[in-house]
C-alpha cells in the first residue's frame, strides 16, 4: 500500500491522459517534465491502435518523480478486464517516435563543371526523435463509488472505478490520498454522465522492485467501443500553461485526423541553411512554436503519415511486426518486409502488395482555453505519404572556373538568400542573425553575389556572361 501523504492525481485522458503536470501549490512539489532531457516541456505520448471499434491505447509516462507519488486517472468507456490491461516496453514507443520524427536530409552539390548543373546525390537522413522531445467498502457505497475491478499488472496497482456522481468520486479520491485539483469535479462529472469509468493506476513498489525496472513502463489498455477519442480535459484542469501531446495512430486504411479541430500539415520540404544541422532541435522547436502561433493554437499538426512497410529517407527502421503486435496492432499478418537498403538509407515499398499498417503522427500544443473539447478522431482513406522533412544542401566548394561554375556561384547566392528568408519565416528568427551565422557577405564583389535583395535581376543575366 502506498503511504505517501501526498499523492498526485496525474490525471489523464482516456488516452492522452498521462501525467497531469500541475503547479506545486496544488500538488505539493510538482512534477514538470524536464526541459533538459526533453525537447518539449510537459509532453505526453500516446499510441492509438484503431480498427473498426477496437482500440488499443498505449500511454507513455515520462514521469521522473518519486514512484510513491505517481498516480494516473484515465476515463475509459468500459469496465476493463485484467486481460485488457498490459504493460509494454518503453523502447517500442521510442522506436515509433524515432521512425516518425521530423527529419533533416542532407544533399551535397556536385562539381557543376563535371556534372552539368545536376544537384547530386549523396543523401543522408538525420531523424530528430521527440523523446528528445515528451491516480472500506461501506464508505465507498456511501460515496456512490464502486470499485469495479482491482488488478496488479506489472508494476502497477490498477482500479476500475464507476461512480454515481462526481462529488462522491472526488471525495473518494481525496480519501484515498489522491490530490484532486480544484475544478476536477466538473470534468469528472461530465465523463460520468457519459457513462465513462475511471482507470486508476498507482505503482506497486514491491512489484516494481521485484521487476527491477528503473523507470515506469507504458500502460496499455485494449477495449471495444465506438468512441474514437482521447480525453484531454482532465489533464488540463490544473495544468500550468500549455501541454504538448504526441499521438501516434496505427490504422489499417489511412491517415488519422481530428474531426473537431483542424489538422494541419507541418511545413515540410524546406531548404534550410547548412548551419542549422547543429541546431536542428532548436530549429524544430522554434518552427513548431511559430506554426502553433500562426494557427492561434487551435490546430493539430500532422508530422508524419506513412505506410509502415517502408520509409524514404528512414529516420529509423520501420517497426517490425513483433513490435507492432506488442503495440496492439491486432490485424497483422506475417507479410515479409522489404530489405533495408543501407546505401540509400531507405527501405523500398514491399513487392507483395500494400502492407496494412498506416502510421500517423500528430503533434499538438493544448490548454484549457484553446482546446475546450476532447480530441475526436477519424480514420480517412488517405494513404498519401507525408513527412516533416527539411533539406540541407551543402554547396560545392571546388575552384573550377568554367562557365557553369560561375553560373552555379551566382545561383548559390540567390539560393542562400532564399534559405535565410525561409528559415526566418519558418522560425521567426532574426534574418540578420541568420545571415551572420551563414556568413552571407552580400556586398562582396568577388563572390559574384548580388548586392540587391532580389538575387539576379534580368539585366544581370543580360550582360553578365
Amino acid at each position: 500500500m502506498i503511504t505517501a501523504r501526498c499523492k498526485r492525481i496525474t490525471a489523464g485522458l482516456l488516452a492522452a491522459a498521462l501525467l497531469l503536470p500541475a503547479p506545486a501549490e496544488a500538488f505539493c512539489g510538482f512534477y514538470v517534465a524536464r526541459a533538459e532531457a526533453d525537447l518539449f516541456n510537459e509532453s505526453s505520448q500516446v499510441v492509438l491502435v484503431r480498427d473498426g471499434d477496437r482500440t488499443v491505447l498505449t500511454m507513455v509516462n515520462d514521469y521522473k518523480g518519486s514512484l510513491t507519488e505517481f498516480a494516473l486517472v484515465v476515463p475509459v468507456p468500459t469496465v476493463l478486464q485484467e486481460g485488457q490491461i498490459h504493460v509494454a516496453n518503453a523502447a517500442l514507443v521510442d522506436h515509433l517516435d524515432a521512425y516518425t520524427a521530423p527529419r533533416l536530409v542532407e544533399y551535397y552539390d556536385g562539381d557543376p563543371c563535371a556534372l552539368g548543373n545536376l544537384p547530386y546525390l549523396s543523401e543522408r537522413a538525420a531523424g530528430m526523435s521527440k523523446s528528445d522531445a515528451a491516480p472500506a467498502r461501506e464508505r465507498d457505497e456511501a460515496l456512490g463509488v464502486t470499485v469495479e475491478a482491482r488488478y496488479t499488472v506489472g508494476e502497477y496497482d490498477i482500479l476500475i472505478l464507476s461512480a454515481k456522481e462526481s462529488g462522491g468520486l472526488e471525495t473518494w479520491l481525496r480519501e484515498n490520498e489522491y490530490r484532486v485539483p480544484a475544478g476536477a469535479s466538473r470534468v469528472l462529472g461530465a465523463y460520468l454522465k457519459q457513462g465513462m469509468k475511471f482507470f486508476v493506476a498507482k505503482v506497486n513498489l514491491k512489484e516494481q522492485s521485484a521487476l527491477g525496472y528503473a523507470t515506469l513502463r507504458p500502460l496499455q489498455i485494449a477495449f471495444e467501443h465506438e468512441k474514437f477519442m482521447l480525453p484531454i480535459r482532465l489533464g488540463m484542469v490544473n495544468a500550468d500553461g500549455a501541454q504538448e501531446l504526441f499521438v501516434y495512430a496505427l490504422t489499417r486504411n489511412g491517415r488519422v485526423e481530428t474531426t473537431n479541430y483542424r489538422t494541419v500539415r507541418l511545413p515540410s520540404g524546406n531548404e534550410i541553411p547548412v548551419y542549422v544541422k547543429d541546431e536542428f532541435k532548436e530549429f524544430y522547436r522554434a518552427m513548431f512554436d511559430r506554426q502553433v502561433e500562426k494557427e492561434n493554437m487551435h490546430a493539430v499538426f500532422l508530422e508524419y503519415a506513412w505506410d509502415m512497410g517502408w520509409c524514404d529517407p528512414c529516420a529509423a527502421d520501420p517497426l517490425s511486426n513483433d513490435e507492432l503486435r506488442e503495440l496492439g496492432v491486432f490485424w497483422l499478418d506475417d507479410g515479409p518486409q522489404a530489405p533495408y537498403d543501407k546505401r540509400w538509407g531507405r527501405r523500398p515499398a514491399p513487392p507483395s502488395g500494400p502492407p496494412n499498417v498506416f502510421v500517423t503522427r500528430l503533434h499538438l500544443r493544448y490548454d484549457f482555453e484553446h482546446f475546450p473539447e476532447d480530441l475526436v478522431f477519424q480514420e480517412t482513406g488517405d494513404r498519401e505519404n507525408f513527412q516533416g522533412r527539411y533539406v540541407l544542401r551543402h554547396p560545392w566548394t571546388g575552384s573550377s572556373d568554367c562557365e557553369q561554375a560561375k553560373a552555379y556561384r551566382r545561383d548559390l547566392a540567390a539560393r542562400e538568400r532564399r534559405q535565410a528568408e525561409d528559415l526566418a519565416s519558418l522560425t521567426g528568427w532574426d534574418l540578420e542573425l541568420i545571415s551572420r551565422k551563414m556568413n552571407l557577405r552580400w556586398n562582396d564583389p568577388a563572390s559574384d553575389r548580388p548586392s540587391n535583395d532580389g538575387g539576379d535581376t534580368w539585366w544581370d543575366k543580360l550582360w553578365r556572361r
Partner: protein, 294 residues
C-alpha cells in the same frame, strides 16, 4: 443596377455558385484543402454529363447546368477521396438521384448529401473532413453572412434558422446537463462545416418541405438526428447522415402539409407541383414522364 444584371441576380443559384467558388478558392489557397485537380475535374465532368444525360433521357427541353455545377462545387468542398472512380460515383449518384429518386415530381434527396453518404457507405476510401474549416469565429461569421444572402434569395431562411436554433439548443442543453462550460458548445458551433451545411445544404429549396411549418419540423428533426449520430452513436458526419436518413420524410410532410412548390426564377410555368395523375393530363403535353424541371 444595370438592367442586364438584374435577371442574373434574381436567381439564387448564381449567388450560390459565386459564394461556393469563393469558399473553394479560400479552402484551397488558404486552408490547404486536399482538393486533387484530377478528382475535381472528374467531379465536374461526371456531374455535368449526368445532368445532360438525365435531361435527355427524361425529355427535358433544356439542359440546365447550374444545379450540377453547384453540386460539383459542394462535392469539391466536402468530399475527399484519393480515387477518381469514387469521385465519379459521388457525382453520378448526386445528379442521378435527382432524376431517379423522385416523389410526386420532386426529388427526394439533396444531391450532394446523397452522393457523399452513398460513397461513405460503400468504401473506406472516401471521407469528409469536417474540421478542416477550423473554428475561427470570424470565418464562420463571414460564411454565415454569405450563406444568408443565398438563403434569403432562395426564400428558405426559415429552415436554416430553425436548424441552427434547434442544433444550438441541443448543444447548449447537453453542455448544461453534463456540467460543461459554455466554451464547449461554442466551439462546436464555430465549425465551418456546420455553417456550410446549414446555409448551403439543408436550405436547398428543392428538397425541403413546401410549407413553412413542415420545413421547421424537418429542420428540428435533422438537428436531433445529427446529435444522435454524434453523441449517442459516436460517429462522425452526423449532419450528413441525419439529412440523408430523414430526407424520405419530406414527401410525407408535403402530403400532410401541402403548399405551393418552390420554383427557380424562370421556371414558374412548368414547375408547378406535379402529382402523378396530373402527369397524364393532356394539358401538360410534352412534359416528361417523371415531370417537373430538374
Amino acid at each position: 443596377m444595370p438592367p442586364r444584371l438584374e435577371p442574373l441576380l434574381r436567381d439564387p443559384r448564381h449567388y450560390q455558385i459565386a459564394v461556393l467558388s469563393c469558399l473553394l478558392a479560400y479552402g484551397v489557397l488558404v486552408l490547404d484543402f486536399d482538393v486533387r485537380p484530377l478528382n475535381a475535374l472528374v467531379l465536374f465532368g461526371t456531374a455535368l454529363l449526368t445532368q445532360w444525360l438525365g435531361s435527355r433521357l427524361t425529355g427535358l427541353a433544356r439542359v440546365d447546368l447550374r444545379s450540377p455545377w453547384i453540386s460539383s462545387l459542394s462535392l469539391c468542398l466536402l468530399f475527399r477521396t484519393e480515387s477518381p472512380l469514387w469521385a465519379a460515383l459521388a457525382a453520378f449518384v448526386s445528379i442521378g438521384s435527382k432524376f431517379a429518386l423522385r416523389s410526386r415530381g420532386k426529388h427526394i434527396f439533396n444531391p450532394t448529401n446523397l452522393g457523399i453518404v452513398a460513397c461513405l457507405l460503400l468504401t473506406d476510401a472516401a471521407w469528409v473532413s469536417p474540421a478542416q474549416w477550423g473554428s475561427g469565429l470570424t470565418f464562420a461569421f463571414l460564411m454565415a453572412c454569405a450563406g444568408g444572402l443565398v438563403v434569403n434569395r432562395a426564400a428558405r431562411a426559415d429552415v436554416t434558422l430553425a436548424f441552427l436554433v434547434s442544433y444550438a439548443a441541443i448543444l447548449f442543453g447537453r453542455a448544461l446537463w453534463l456540467g460543461q462550460r459554455w466554451a464547449v458548445p461554442l466551439h462546436q458551433l464555430e465549425s465551418g462545416a456546420l455553417v456550410l451545411f446549414a446555409f448551403f445544404m439543408i436550405s436547398d429549396p428543392k428538397t425541403t418541405p413546401d410549407r413553412r411549418a413542415g420545413r421547421i419540423a424537418f429542420a428540428v428533426l435533422v438537428a436531433l438526428g445529427a446529435a444522435l449520430v454524434q453523441f449517442v452513436l459516436y460517429r462522425t458526419n452526423g449532419l450528413l447522415w441525419s439529412l440523408a436518413v430523414l430526407s424520405p420524410l419530406v414527401p410525407l410532410i408535403d402530403r400532410l402539409l401541402p403548399a405551393a412548390r418552390y420554383v427557380w426564377p424562370g421556371e414558374t410555368a412548368r414547375a408547378t407541383p406535379i402529382s402523378l395523375p396530373e402527369l397524364n393530363a393532356p394539358s401538360f403535353g410534352p412534359v416528361p414522364s417523371l415531370g417537373g424541371k430538374r
